[in-house]
């Protein structure tokens, strides 16, 4: 029984909260989910302790999960034990206020003024045996209970949502499609790096063909995912790759290739083109010197290359549409290929709905707790008393001012 009492106590809850804070502190200071080598390099001999205690993935360690589970248990026990008391307190609150004998003495004239003041503030009047009780915000009795219940629900639904969600990332080139395991087909009709006003944005024109054959075409961008056919589609990232057509006029062979990292396209061992990278834009100064820009919407893309001819190597830049001849092979640089990084998430809509409902409940609970606290004013001949489960300094001050001689 003593253990049960401790498990549901506020002391235990506060201890758990303090331990969760300690874990969160560690988790925010120690970078999470890195390779072992990173911790060894960063913390030297201390890395052993970090890895042994799981500080590298503290939020998924067993002890952290146990802490959360214990907090959940504390909330359940505390809510259960207080539920009856809360109901009783709410039910009998007016009668209890009516039994308050002590209070501040006031004259008859001031009593009238007080009662008028309370009526103006929409206090509910209940006449008991020789006593009048003015009550307000009785729903506030449930504030603490609703808040604790909602925290518990948030923990349950958030945990379920985090662990049941299945996410997969796909990189899809504009104009191409991928098929998911369940048969859903995602096609990126076009990926844009700017919105209609030219402002930087990440937008995919997407067509989803669900497993039952139904189809939906829409636009997705950051903050605006698409839900269809049991999945949710997010604009997660993007990549831009260089594109080139290689042609050998001797045998008529032709090939289109995409380039995403620095590479040497050899014609012979020491002749060929070095692809360095593709840049979103460039600027040309008065002397004709070209500067490459690292960011932009690829409105004015440019390739950085180097041509090797034996021991001779020349660096330069080339724009899409231009062709280079090297060792009898023709390299035509095309417009860069844009790919959209699409995240597909599968999660129960009901679960997310319940989670958001719990969020709303938490806000409502806190509001009831702090801004809708029940308050009772017991008025009996020659006396009045302010009571309630929470401190009523605000109301008491107002009444003091109202009844002060200065006011009179």
């Amino acid at each position: 029984m003593k253990i049960l009492k401790f498990l549901r106590s506020m002391t235990f809850g506060v201890i758990l909260l303090a331990l969760i804070v300690a874990c969160s502190l560690v988790g925010s200071i120690v970078l999470q989910g890195m390779e072992t080598a990173y911790y060894q390099e960063q913390y030297g001999s201390g890395s052993g302790v970090i890895l042994a205690l799981g500080f590298d993935h503290i939020f998924s360690t067993l002890y952290f999960v146990i802490l959360l589970a214990l907090l959940g248990l504390n909330l359940i026990l505390c809510s259960l034990s207080r539920f009856r008391a809360t109901m009783k307190a709410a039910k009998n609150s007016v009668e209890r206020a009516g039994r308050i004998e002590s209070g501040t003495e006031i004259s008859g004239k001031k009593t009238d003024r007080l009662e008028e003041f309370l009526k103006d503030r929409h206090f509910k009047q209940t006449k008991l045996d020789g006593v009048t009780v003015y009550s307000k915000n009785r729903l506030g009795h449930y504030g603490s209970f609703v808040t604790h219940l909602s925290i518990l629900l948030v923990m349950i639904f958030a945990g379920a949502a985090l662990y049941s969600a299945v996410t997969e990332d796909y990189t899809i080139v504009s104009g191409e499609s991928v098929t998911l395991e369940d048969g859903t087909k995602i096609r990126i009709n076009e990926f844009h790096l700017a919105d209609e006003t030219g402002r930087l944005d990440y937008i995919s024109d997407i067509t989803i063909t669900a497993k039952d054959g139904s189809e939906k075409s829409d636009t997705i961008s950051v903050n605006y995912p698409l839900s269809f056919g049991g999945h949710k589609y997010y604009q997660q990232s993007y990549s831009v790759q260089g594109s080139m057509t290689i042609r050998n006029p001797e045998n008529g062979a032709m090939d289109d290739i995409t380039l995403d990292e620095t590479c040497f396209l050899s014609v012979t061992d020491d002749v060929g083109i070095m692809y360095v990278g593709c840049y979103p834009a460039y600027e040309t100064d008065e002397e004709g010197k070209v500067s490459l820009l690292e960011s932009g919407t690829y409105e004015k893309p440019i390739y950085q290359i180097a041509i090797q001819d034996g021991e001779d190597m020349k660096s330069g830049v080339i724009t899409p549409g231009e062709t280079l001849e090297c060792g009898g092979i023709y390299f035509t640089f095309n417009e860069p290929v844009k790919s959209a990084g699409i995240r597909v998430k599968t999660i129960s809509g009901v679960l997310m709905g319940l989670l958001y409902l719990a969020f709303g409940l938490m806000i409502a609970g806190l509001w009831l707790c702090f801004f809708h606290a029940p308050v009772y004013v017991t008025v009996r001949p020659g006396k009045y008393a302010v009571s309630g489960p929470k401190s009523n300094v605000g109301l008491q001050t107002q009444i003091d001012l109202l009844l002060s001689d200065k006011e009179e």
Binding site: M10, G13, V14, L17, A18, I20, V21, S24, L25, G27, S28, I29, Q32, F59, A158, A161, L162, A165, T167, R199, L200, D201, Y202, S221, V222, N223, Y224, P225, K232, Y234, Q236, R343, K345, M352, L355, Y356, F359, M362, I363, L366, W367, C369, F370, F371, S391, V393, G394, T397
Partner: protein, 265 residues
């Protein structure tokens, strides 16, 4: 125009501080009244600056450290004005006006002031609610810390903790924390919904999220401890003062020292 409003507002805040302290030292009602009206002028300039910046930027001016710090300082001033008018207390100005001035100075002198285009991740319907609630939450915690300092100062001067004046400070500090806590809950929960829309997951233990949670738990502990009789008064005042360090770290420290998904904030 914006620089005139920015530095003009800072200068007027400074004058308000001088007048406020002078009124406390020399106990002159006229100085007290002057400090109040000068503060109102500073607040009007401050508000005008935020409005003009929003018009020029064509968006809510809350998207980077400068804009948030400016709004944070504005929130402190606004809550001070509210407390002053609602509860007829003027001593809070001794702490709140310097707090607003320091925050605004940090924004004006330390953080980059250029108007930049809002990044795609911030273009969401949740932006105003999430950041707006953060402004009021942090400002409430700052005011409660000011009240905590006042409480401790009065204790040091030998004030009776059972007196009505001390009880009022303690109560108002608690009310500010309760409001800040509610607002911080709105910040965290709206952030969760927004993160689910933008990044597909409502919680990723990003440093800013983690520190917002740490701050939330700190104040949750405060609100629970307050229910114990022995924790009222001085201990709670200390708590309110110390907890503001946590808020300031969440606001600025995380951005400087612990980069993550919120590094632009």
């Amino acid at each position: 125009m914006m620089n005139v409003l920015l530095f003009g507002s800072l200068a007027v805040y400074f004058v308000a501080i001088v007048l406020q302290f002078s009124s406390s030292i020399f106990k002159k009602e006229k100085l007290k009244s002057a400090a109040w009206w000068v503060l109102i002028v500073a607040f009007a300039f401050h508000t005008a600056f935020i409005v003009v910046r929003g018009i020029v930027a064509k968006r809510l001016p809350l998207s980077n450290q400068f804009e948030f710090a400016t709004a944070f300082a504005w929130g402190v001033s606004l809550l001070y004005i509210f407390v002053h008018l609602r509860f007829k207390i003027d001593w809070i100005g001794n702490f709140a006006i310097p707090a607003a001035f320091l925050l605004f100075s940090y924004a004006a002198l330390v953080t980059p002031r250029e108007i930049t285009e809002m990044m795609p991740a911030l273009r969401s319907a949740w932006f105003g609610l999430h950041i707006g609630a953060a402004v009021f939450s942090y400002a409430s915690f700052a005011i409660s810390a000011c009240m905590g300092i006042r409480y401790l100062w009065q204790c040091k001067k030998g004030a009776d903790e059972t007196s009505a004046a001390m009880k009022q400070i303690d109560y108002l500090s608690y009310r500010m924390i309760a409001f800040g806590f509610l607002m911080l809950t709105v910040v965290i929960l709206s952030g969760c919904v927004w993160a689910e829309q933008a990044w597909s997951t409502f919680w990723s233990w990003d440093p800013k999220e983690t520190w917002a949670l740490i701050t939330w738990i700190m104040y949750a502990i405060y609100l629970h401890q307050r229910l114990r009789k022995k924790w009222q008064g001085k201990r709670m005042a200390w708590f309110a003062v110390i907890a503001i360090i946590c808020v300031l770290f969440t606001f600025a420290g995380v951005n400087l020292l612990l980069p993550g998904l919120h590094s632009y904030a």
